[in-house]
Symmetry: C2
Subunit: 473 residues, 2 copies
Amino acid sequence: MPADNLAHQNHNKTMTNQSTLYQNLDNYIRNTRNEFEDKLATLVETPSVSSDPERAGDINRCGEIAAQYLNDLGVKAETVPTPGYPVVFGSLITDPKNPTVTIYNHLDVQPADASEWRKAPFTFYKEGDRYEGRGTTDDKGPAMTAMLAVRYAVDKGLPLNFKFIWELEEEIGSPNFEYFVKRNIGHLQTNSVLVSDTIWISRRQPAAPYGLRGLQGFLFKLETHAKDVHSGLVGGVARNPIGELAQVISQCYDAKTGKVKIPGFYDDVVPATKAEVNSFVNSGFTTKGYQKAHELKSIRPNMKSEADVLKAFMAMPTFEVHGITGGYTGPGVKTIVPYRAEAKISARLVPKQRPAKVARMVKDFVKQINPDVKVEAIQALEPFLGDFEGPYADAARAAMKFAFGREPAFTREGGSIGAVVTMQKHLKAPITFLGLSLPEHGYHAKNENYDWGQTAGGIKMFVKYFEEISKLK
Amino acid sequence: MPADNLAHQNHNKTMTNQSTLYQNLDNYIRNTRNEFEDKLATLVETPSVSSDPERAGDINRCGEIAAQYLNDLGVKAETVPTPGYPVVFGSLITDPKNPTVTIYNHLDVQPADASEWRKAPFTFYKEGDRYEGRGTTDDKGPAMTAMLAVRYAVDKGLPLNFKFIWELEEEIGSPNFEYFVKRNIGHLQTNSVLVSDTIWISRRQPAAPYGLRGLQGFLFKLETHAKDVHSGLVGGVARNPIGELAQVISQCYDAKTGKVKIPGFYDDVVPATKAEVNSFVNSGFTTKGYQKAHELKSIRPNMKSEADVLKAFMAMPTFEVHGITGGYTGPGVKTIVPYRAEAKISARLVPKQRPAKVARMVKDFVKQINPDVKVEAIQALEPFLGDFEGPYADAARAAMKFAFGREPAFTREGGSIGAVVTMQKHLKAPITFLGLSLPEHGYHAKNENYDWGQTAGGIKMFVKYFEEISKLK
């Protein structure tokens, strides 16, 4: 952890007016394009897959490269150790009297199965304005975009201090992020946090989320005998653990509609207000575009309107089966009675629902309907609810309108960013989301990509946002 | 099991040639032991795993070795080609006027996962009277036992002709056995068929089954989108194919009790008669021993008595889930919504149930409850019901009593032998089952074994059976 470095060289020039601040911005953006592409390419070609222990070297190397990028900008940065992978932390104090914004991104990435991609996933490909490769949109591209906006703002003498938190374990649920925050809390004071790791609903309409769903993962395990047995010999007598788990799952929820049947599951859910739903609907969302972006051939039959769909993934909890192991998995049928089975399950949670309470509820329910099923609660993430009104939301609105010509729709994200909840808890500062990813960028999917349009607009957006919040005390 | 039946040898003075026939049998059995072990070892060490295409060479070699064994005995034998693996067929006509018995065994074996076995599965281990290795009890050991009994009977001038059918595709559902039978029907005329590929209920009590369950395999397939998707982005909206299959499975049957809920499923089931159930119960069966043999920690709660258990696996149909593929299968939880899922399912069927009718029934039902689930019917085997009364059953009774000191219980097998149904259909001759496998032999399981007690008793049993049926015209 670097000492907070005071009084940075010549950044104390007096902030002039808006025309001075934005005078050279378009030029700067144009001139910085090669540098942006080079830096992003280097990061993409460092496969920082945090879920793969064999990539440990790449992940550490990615952190070192990123810290060097910050240092080259005049940010005092280093990789801060944790019990897992380090966190890249940087600090640029233009004047202790200025307010401070902390910019959060992550530089680890999802795994990529090369056989599914049309090109090598860890090679950076540029095709016109399109950049392809794992991590381009999630979240290396947005990190570089924000960083280059900071350089411009600092050079222009904007009265704002900057801190950077670039995590390397976000894709595995941020297991050591709270450790990092608590151990380094003295260096993390900030007036606000800016997170750039979210997705617009549509390219035509910027979106600024103010909420995230939480998560409670579960393993449902059932072992009914000692080994797989021949169904001719024991079929009819022997218990079938896959059959019983299928039954338990069907008692937990109606897969057709997604409706959870566990008593009390919806008790703490606060339905989205009419104003919120209106804001979701005005995000440029169409069910058709959403299905196309995620390649969903069909959706649940109770999703009858745009509002139904938006509420379902932004503001309602879920019960989801990710896989069932145990039993025969080869081609055709092998007539065994499996001896064990494990269902991989999670519940996405919405604000006011608590993972620990939901975990207890699920355990109790399963115990009641099939006491032999062992329920293990793993990987809990609290949901998050921020503001879509107030000065930081206003700054976000102004910034997006300035850069992209339209005010953002305030939405919620269906996913979870564990680090956000940790920062809310310990930094006690408002958190704003200014994401740049688009549905067609293949977030978490094959052929992930990012583009120059979002980069150029993004730099503009961040500069404007920095200006707006530099005026808040 | 020691052959404790010397007393039985001379008890029937009215059979004039009995003393001649059985005079040297014990000596023969003793003297033939080394040969039996050598021949079985060679077969076990030829890994004829019919489900593994990489074992094609071994399977063909196994057939050649077996044909040579028969030729060495004076049987005219060869490997008869089919579109799949060949069938070893042999014929020994002592006199065209004599009746003919056709002996069926199979020489292909189940796969074996070496990591689960305490010794290498395809190495023959002898420990005292115990022989261990894949195929020892299913069905290479019984095949060699019957073969060596034939040599003795022929040497003694028993007025009986012998044909051998040794299949190499039994463990994969006999896909080409009907082809073999129809193409070679002119050579297959026989007065009776003897099948030695079944299991006693208890070592203390011989069992002769007269029925087999049939089978109808199914793949339930559901594809709801194009690729795995991030459950944060689509959870709540996207259909979950594993969840929906779990629901379909739970609508098809109650996994806890095994009760099938598909309308009409039990319509053609003929319940076992009281006499049949009594015979099952008198087989030496205990639920405790059965659970121990198959390592079943618990069984279905509705299996309250021995009769419940016996009826459930001998005389009632089942619905069984063998596995569910699709989705995440690694450690922990990965929060995807899978894009496809496939459940591997089968129904064991009892006499009068027809696989084709059950297939239609299941397809219609699933179509009605979830029309997007594609049901593929694969691997159909008709059930079989033979006689437990009549001259061949009497011969089996006499043979088992002679060799093992106790008359057999007439039972049914819960498994299926597709070839039996084919022989019944085309050979139109009575079929008798004289099996030698014991529950503790690990049929289809790890550490498969056979033993000298069953071999020695088995040779005696077969010789006696041959004598009895040589008198039938």
